[in-house]
């Protein structure tokens, strides 16, 4: 049987505020345990929450960037359950009336086609603390520094049909929240994580299959692997005559498996109700206009501009706008070169991204700055070096050996454009290879490449390839 996979994502993006969503405690990462948990975060008797304005602004930005409706009125609700990292015994979240709903996002698939993924809603809520399971005499330690950190939970429609699409969607959201500067996107620190809802159904069937939710995936790779694993598991169960149980699962990256969380029989009776300590959040049109005026250029807008202003192809523009930093790097390079956008695009996509991938670095860690890269591209432009030699220069620059001119100078890589010198080398080679010359002249055209190779070898690749071609053709046929 052919199976269709149905996936929906719930992404938790930690909002990059200074203070918590309902208290004035710091949200800085990595502090000593419980030193950033104030009386409100600890849920001391009598304390009350007050909403952080920045959080509302950030959610509004996200709503505007995804063509969503920013709710004029949204309400905080309590989600009641007992857990030691949840000091109040309830999480303040949004239930019936989220701040953002009904949006969409376009993703680009491998074949260059685009697909629109619906965004059901994005709501504000508070993060929980952390349970540390290292041994404290067989007990668990609770650190509440993270308790009360603002989260935007972004819920997609079940529009996703493969692990690849899921990752493309997640990457797009990841890039978007960083563009908007509402989340630092740091997945290792848990600032950006994802729950995946997966079900399968026979191709052509309308109804959805029973879904499972795999929680707390904090890398693109884990999302892809967890989906693959879960899809396989579900298909096997159904094909063996079993039934899928709706449940919450955990992915173990070490074994590349998902497993069921210990089931809590009443786990779903969260007894949601409007939080009486908080009032309805009203967002006025003027507030939205204000946020709109402060919005940065969005990835899709930037992509369109790169295509129209720089003549880039859709695919290239897509790659270069994948992150705000990369796009900035590219634009800075073009500005420093003052033109040659396509050449710049090739170099950023080829050598720069290649080197970053090789070393596992982020664009912010690039060892060659846009100014340095521009220096090199200018030397390609003015024929000081060929494209091929330029790659050698780039490697040297990456290794900290100085700017393009210094590397070219110290390594003697300057392109030979002296016609007399090239002619001299050609004459020598023709004289030393009479057999090949005769064969070429008797019609074996392919040997032209042999002569080019010899010249380049002799000049250590520094001869201007166009000049070599032209002179060789003349001399060989004379």
């Amino acid at each position: 049987m052919e199976w269709e996979v149905v996936i929906g994502l719930e992404i938790h993006a930690q909002l990059a505020t200074n203070s918590k969503i309902f208290s004035g405690a710091s949200t800085a990462y990595g502090a000593e345990p419980n030193t950033q948990a104030c009386e409100v975060d600890l849920a001391l008797p009598g304390v009350l929450p007050v909403l952080n304005k920045e959080v509302v602004k950030m959610a509004t930005k996200f709503g505007l960037a995804t063509g969503s409706t920013v709710a004029q009125r949204s309400v905080f609700a309590r989600k009641n359950y007992f857990y030691p990292d949840l000091p109040k015994g309830y999480q303040i979240s949004q239930f019936e009336l989220p701040i953002v709903h009904n949006g969409k996002l376009e993703i680009v698939l491998d074949d260059g086609a685009t697909k629109t993924i619906g965004i059901t809603r994005a709501h504000l809520e508070e993060d929980a603390g952390k349970s540390l399971h290292e041994d404290f005499h067989g007990m668990t330690g609770i650190d509440l520094n993270r308790a009360g950190t603002p989260l935007l939970e972004i819920v997609s429609e079940p529009d996703i049909r493969s692990a690849k699409e899921a990752v493309a969607y997640m990457k797009k959201i990841h890039s978007l929240v960083q563009y908007l500067e509402i989340c630092d996107g740091n997945m290792q620190e848990g600032s950006f994580r994802c729950d995946v809802n997966v079900s399968v159904r026979p191709k052509g069937q309308k109804e959805f299959g029973t879904r499972t939710e795999t929680k707390n995936l904090n890398s693109f790779r884990f999302v892809e692997k967890a989906i693959h694993h879960e899809v396989q598991r579900q298909i096997e169960i159904i094909e063996n005559g079993g039934e899928i149980i709706q449940q919450t699962r955990l992915y173990n990256p070490d074994t590349d498996e998902t497993r069921s969380m210990r089931s809590k029989e009443e786990a779903n009776d969260y007894r949601y109700f409007p939080d009486p300590d908080l009032l309805p959040v009203m967002i006025e049109e003027s507030f939205i206009e204000q946020v709109k005026s402060e919005m940065p250029e969005l990835p899709d807008e930037k992509k369109q501009r790169f295509m129209s202003d720089f003549g880039l192809k859709a695919y290239d523009a897509d790659v270069l706008t994948a992150s705000r930093e990369l796009a900035n790097y590219f634009e800075a390079t073009v500005a420093a070169v003052a033109g040659e956008a396509k050449l710049c695009a090739n170099w950023v996509q080829g050598e720069v991204i290649g080197a970053l991938n090789r070393e596992g670095m982020e664009i912010s860690q690039a060892q060659v700055s846009p100014a340095l890269l521009a220096g090199l591209i200018k030397r390609i432009q003015d024929n000081t070096v060929s494209q091929k030699i330029a790659k050698q220069v780039f490697e040297a620059m990456w290794n900290g050996e100085g700017d393009a001119d210094a590397v070219i100078e110290s390594k003697g890589l300057k392109q030979v454009t002296d016609i007399g010198l090239i002619e001299q080398v050609i004459d020598e080679i023709i004289a030393n290879n009479p057999g090949q010359l005769e064969q070429y002249r008797s019609g074996k055209d392919k040997l032209f490449g042999f002569f080019v190779g010899q010249v380049m070898k002799q000049t250590q690749g520094k001869a201007n390839p166009a000049q070599v071609n032209e002179l060789l053709r003349k001399k060989l046929s004379s």
């Binding site: 009386e39 001391l44 008797p45 909403l51 009641n80 000091p87 109040k88 009776d269 949601y272």
Partner: protein
């Protein structure tokens, strides 16, 4: 200097007739010698009170001091007081030394007011008789075989017995007004949002409101001047100017329109209580007020609505008491669930457990619409009744409670009959409007309270109406023997 009102004490301190240390010591001594009869205090803060009194005397000696500087009062043990045990009447918090001050407590400290101690109360403010306190019931100073009312029973009793000139209380369904009535003192529940709830241990967040419990309306005005005000730490606190509540106390009442809801004078009202209330109305008529018969048709449902809304909110509010970060923790928990269940099972008394369970049930899957949502809708109708009434009248009057204080143990095994003792006060909390109770006579030797209800933020008018009555009558001057 005993048995003086707050206003008289403040004046005496200004005139250097006595010092704050003297007044404070005199009250501490009386608490020590007499509170054994009433059990109105859970904690007496002798050392802290004397230190605060000394500091107040220094301020009084030097410069112009705040009006209430140096006056001692008592706080209901629901308000967090830094460095002092704050129990909320519960075993759950028997070991809880609060690391911070409630905003109300802070306001009084800043005004130089001395804290004598923390008063007894029904556990987590859930009760109408003070019998649910982990620290034992409070006895009514008018008859120690009778209850003082609740939940602010300790505050009411200590003021009635002259152990403190005034006290703070909180009112979720009548917890200031009903004990004020049963103990023969003056109590005011302000408009929801008028006084900060920060640091006041929450029972039902959308109903709780703090207010003063005093000998007379003038003192209540002085207390409210210090208590009321916007608090940026409480999202439900109202950012609205606080008037001087003493300014309008003597306003003339001629032409005042008093509404008498027929629902407050029906079945279940004790005849002598009704007579005392009617006599009080006559006093107002003599002062030129006009009586208007009105109806609050949905108020009969206020008790059922309250017993959904309040338990629902409390079931969630009390989840934080889990034995992890503070408060009672059971011995040798076997696992996490055991830690939760036994810490909470041992820490909470039976009335608290009842309400938590009712609330959890009303919010649970499949019942939410029938209970919680239904109650929130009826709450709207109840509030609309008042809105309609206040388009016709200036204040509403009636009895505070259906009878005078009942015997200790009389209703403690019958939750429903206990709940009905708040039948006239609950609707006011559901609507969020202000309400007062003032002494209006006696029935079989026990005090009767007259309830005065006003429109939103009309505390000044209530205090004016109460004060003028107290100029014409002396019920508020009577003291238990």
């Amino acid at each position: 200097m005993m048995d003086k009102t707050l206003a008289e004490l403040a004046q005496g301190l200004k005139n250097k007739e006595f010092s704050s240390v003297e007044v404070t010591q005199a009250h501490l001594d009386r608490i020590k010698s007499n509170d054994g009869n009433y059990n109105s205090f859970i904690t007496v803060c002798e050392a802290e009170a004397l230190a605060q009194a000394q500091a107040a005397d220094a301020v009084l000696a030097k410069r112009e001091a705040p009006v209430l500087c140096g006056v001692p009062i008592a706080h209901k043990d629901i308000f967090c007081t830094e460095g002092v045990k704050t129990t909320c009447g519960s075993k759950m918090l028997d070991n809880f030394i609060s690391p911070y001050d409630a905003t109300v407590v802070k306001n009084f400290k800043q005004a130089g007011v001395v804290t004598l101690g923390k008063t007894n109360m029904d556990e987590f403010a859930m009760g109408s008789s003070n019998e649910t306190s982990f620290y034992g019931g409070v006895k009514n100073p008018w008859d120690v075989k009778k209850v003082p009312g609740g939940s602010s029973g300790g505050s009411a009793a200590c003021v009635a017995a002259g152990l403190a000139p005034a006290a703070t209380g909180t009112d979720t369904g009548g917890s200031i007004r009903q004990p004020a009535a049963l103990c023969g003192i003056t109590g005011l529940k302000p408009t929801y949002g008028r006084v900060s709830r920060y640091g006041m241990i929450a029972f039902a967040s959308s109903l709780d409101q703090a207010g003063p419990m005093t000998r007379n309306a003038e003192d209540a005005a002085l207390m409210l001047n210090t208590m009321a005000g916007f608090d940026p730490k409480d999202s439900t606190s109202v950012d609205r100017e606080v008037p001087d509540y003493t300014a309008d106390l003597n306003n003339d009442l001629s032409g005042l329109k008093i509404g008498l809801p027929k629902e407050f004078f029906g079945e279940g009202l004790d005849a002598q209580t009704e007579k005392a209330v009617q006599d009080a109305i006559v006093v107002y008529e003599k002062m030129g007020a006009k009586i208007v018969d009105i109806s609050l048709p949905n108020s009969k449902l206020s008790v059922p609505v309250y017993y959904v809304v309040a338990p629902a909110e409390c079931s969630s509010n009390l989840s934080r008491f889990d034995g992890v970060r503070y408060g009672h923790r059971c011995e040798n928990p076997q696992d996490l669930e055991d830690l939760y269940k036994r810490s909470r099972g041992e820490g909470f008394g039976s009335e608290v457990k009842r309400r938590i369970m009712i609330g959890a049930y009303a919010l649970s899957a499949g019942y939410y619409d029938a209970y919680y949502l239904k109650a929130q809708k009826l709450r709207h109708l109840i509030a609309d009744d008042f809105k309609h009434a206040f388009s016709q009248v200036d204040v509403i009057m009636g009895p505070t409670a259906p009878s005078t204080a009942f015997g200790i143990g009389e209703k403690s095994n019958d939750p429903i009959s206990m709940y009905l003792s708040d039948i006239y006060t609950i609707a006011v909390n559901l609507a969020g409007i202000p309400g007062m109770s003032i002494p209006a006579g006696f029935s079989n030797g026990m005090p009767v309270g007259l309830q005065i209800i006003g429109n939103y933020f009309e505390e000044a008018r209530l205090l004016n109406v109460a004060h003028r009555f107290q100029q014409e009558t002396d019920w508020h001057m009577r003291r238990p023997q």
